[in-house]
């Protein structure tokens, strides 16, 4: 009965939305034109990167905070004392050597791809988010091949790596705020500043995304 009501509500909403979208006039504000007109002043050549890091860079700053926060929430919920001692069952033998060799071969390639994506972001699709995701995928692959242990409570260096990218971004924001407006880059340095921010973000996002996986899998020691 409850499920039926939910389905009925969802169907009604879909019908309403489709009906209302049917007679929709074109939007009155054309943002594509504004983005294209200001692209030369943004410091990068690709419109997506320009929107993410310059026009709406403040959104991105807060998004990075959300990702870092997600990791902190996982750390805050975790019970570190339960997972440490007894979970060290040796499962190394279960993983095939083929997988391990392939993972060892793929990892350097993935790191290279990540840095290519970071560099390509300024003139074609790419950028820190994609590069960080590839880095994180490499870490997850190494973990699944049993070459990288799951993470316990992160140490000082790892915490610096996790928060470093966000702090660089924040520092650029604070610096630009003292000069004028938040995240308003001087025209000549815009490209360099965006590259600096994106480089820091690539490392930190890679670590954060990998951490979301490697921290959550820390209690699975016995079951795998």
């Amino acid at each position: 009965m409850k499920r039926l009501l939910v389905v009925l509500g969802a169907v009604c909403l879909i019908v309403l939305l489709l009906g209302a979208m049917h007679d929709l006039a074109p939007a009155s504000v054309e943002l594509h034109a504004a983005v294209a007109a200001n692209l030369t002043a943004s410091g990068v050549e690709h419109p997506v990167t320009a929107v993410l890091l310059n026009f709406r860079g403040y959104d991105t700053l807060l998004e990075i905070a959300v990702l870092l926060l997600a990791l902190i929430v996982i750390l805050a919920i975790g019970r570190e004392e339960a997972s440490n001692a007894e979970a060290t069952v040796d499962v190394r033998l279960l993983v095939s050597p083929v997988l391990q060799t392939l993972a060892k071969l793929a990892t350097p390639l993935m790191i290279m791809v990540a840095f290519y994506l970071l560099w390509a972001g300024s003139f074609r699709p790419g950028g820190a988010f994609q590069a960080g995701a590839v880095l994180a995928a490499a870490a997850v692959l190494l973990h699944l091949a049993e070459l990288l242990p799951s993470w316990q409570s992160p140490g000082a260096r790892l915490r610096l790596g996790l928060a470093g990218g966000f702090l660089i971004f924040l520092a650029v924001g604070a610096g630009s705020l003292m000069q004028g407006a938040l995240l308003e880059y001087p025209l000549e340095q815009a490209g360099a500043l965006i590259l600096l921010i994106e480089s820091g973000l690539t490392i930190s996002l890679g670590l954060i995304l990998a951490g979301l996986f490697l921290l959550l899998s820390r209690d699975d020691g016995e079951t795998s």
Partner: protein, 473 residues
């Protein structure tokens, strides 16, 4: 100046994270002192020279994001910082050295406050969504941190509620962007006023309903009592006092801003929030009277007190309704923070959490009980408290427009609040059973709660300044 209110908490939150588990209290308190000063300076500037604007990146809407501080946002910023600083001092004394909830408390609180401050300043619908995410995730983390299975279950329920709420809001934003091609609230006011296709009505409905879920307005309050009642006391205080008010602020903003032309066309729609608010006042008070656990009583009282906020919607057309609503936000915020803080002290001292076990605390913890009583005065709406001022103004407005029902709800709600506040006080003044043990607690815990409670009462004497601030546009 206003941007530092967002950057400072982000900075001390990430510093606290880098320093390591359970570290970072001093950067946090230093940051909070600076934020409090900034909030006062911003309010003074706005009263002097009108609303302030900051174009992030120097682009300006619609290409970039604008931050706008008018009287309403400055007042909310002021309330948030005023409550956060005493609660931070309280939390420092509250958590024991080995309490797992303390490990990541400071980073989580920092991100929570950054989300709140960013939300109050933003004039961009999508940017507001990002701040809602920051806020919701930090709040869920604070509820869950270091807790047992029950606390994590409450946090998970809270997470689902807040995600569904944000999801509905985001769908609304997407529809608005599809219709007008912009998400700037300032630009949208005239665009929606000029032409509002059906899609905008659906978008508005989704956004307001999603935010009502996040505000825990009856009947969407199901997640609030377990989450607020189960969290550690400083967290309950912060969540009940300011976090639920953030989504209320947003409903109010949208209602008098972009969607103001819609509410003129469909004039009956103003009674929808008022009806739910009325039900919330009665249902929340009834549950608070029946509650056996002290923190559940206070959490249900939050459900009831949030109801008053929604009674102002039918009156918004006349001057002063906004001020009455914000006065109630301040009164409840300060009083509820004080009440949860006092309850945390009482529970710590008596070692149990039932109302029935409070006998004898009046002579052992007089300051804490006095704080609880003062906060109760504000919730009941007795003079000279801020709660009295808010209710007085609400009743006056309701009577001047012949809305007898609203005046009646406000009066009865005050009486019901008296019932549950006195049920606690009566128990506390009973003689202690011979075998009861009251462990001594830190003075800091007692006096921070007292400061908050006294502020909620004394604000009534300085209400004119606050109302003047809220009026600045």
């Amino acid at each position: 100046m206003m941007v530092w209110l967002i950057l400072l908490p982000l900075l001390w939150a990430s510093l606290a994270f880098m320093l390591g588990p359970s570290r970072g209290v001093w950067p946090a308190i230093a940051g909070l002192v600076a934020q409090l000063w900034l909030a006062f300076a911003l309010a003074a500037e706005i009263v002097g020279s009108g609303a302030a604007m900051h174009a992030v990146g120097g682009w300006g809407a619609p290409l970039g994001i604008d931050l706008v501080a008018d009287g309403l946002s400055a007042a909310m910023l002021l309330l948030t910082q005023c409550i956060a600083l005493p609660l931070a001092v309280y939390a420092h004394a509250y958590f024991k050295r080995d309490d797992p909830a303390r490990n990541y408390f400071w980073p989580l609180v920092g991100f929570l406050l950054a989300g709140l401050n960013a939300l109050f300043l933003s004039a961009d619908l999508f940017n507001i969504y990002v701040t809602l995410e920051l806020l919701g995730l930090a709040a869920v983390g604070l509820v869950a941190a270091g807790g047992g299975a029950q606390q994590i279950a409450a946090a998970l329920r809270y997470l689902f509620a807040t995600l569904v709420g944000s999801g509905a809001y985001l769908l609304g934003v997407a529809l608005i962007y599809g219709t007008y091609g912009t998400v700037s609230t300032v630009t949208l006011v005239s665009l929606i006023g000029a032409d509002a296709p059906d899609l905008v009505w659906i978008a508005g409905g989704l956004m307001v309903l999603g935010l009502m879920l996040k505000t825990a307005l009856f009947p969407f309050h199901f997640w609030l009592p377990p989450a607020h009642g189960g969290a550690p006391a400083p967290v309950s205080a912060l969540l009940s006092a300011v976090v639920v008010k953030a989504s209320f602020y947003l409903i109010l903003r949208l209602w008098v801003g972009p969607f103001s032309s819609l509410t003129v066309v469909a004039s009956l729609v103003v009674w929808f929030p008022a009806l739910l608010g009325t039900l919330a006042v009665f249902w929340g008070s009834y549950q608070a009277i029946r509650a056996e656990r002290l923190k559940m009583l206070i959490a249900y009282s939050t459900v009831a007190q949030l109801g008053y906020l929604f009674l102002i919607f039918p009156l918004l057309a006349s001057a002063g309704a906004l001020q009455a609503g914000i006065m109630q936000v301040f009164a409840h915020g300060l009083a509820k923070a004080a009440m949860f803080a006092a309850a945390g002290t009482l529970i710590k001292a008596t070692g149990q959490e039932m109302v029935a076990g409070l006998a004898g605390v009046a002579e052992r913890l007089p300051v804490t009980l006095f704080a609880f009583g003062l906060a109760g005065i504000t919730l009941m709406g007795l003079p000279p408290s801020a709660g009295f001022l808010a209710k007085w103004q609400l009743i006056e407005l309701a009577l001047s427009q012949q809305q007898w029902v609203i005046a009646f709800v406000v009066l009865v709600g005050g009486l019901l609040a008296a019932v549950y506040v006195f049920s606690v006080l009566r128990q506390a003044f009973l003689l202690a059973p011979a075998d009861s043990v009251v462990t001594p607690v830190s003075r800091t815990l007692e006096w921070t709660a007292f400061v908050l409670a006294a502020a909620s009462v004394l604000l009534g004497l300085r209400g004119v300044e606050l109302m003047q601030l809220v009026g600045v546009t």
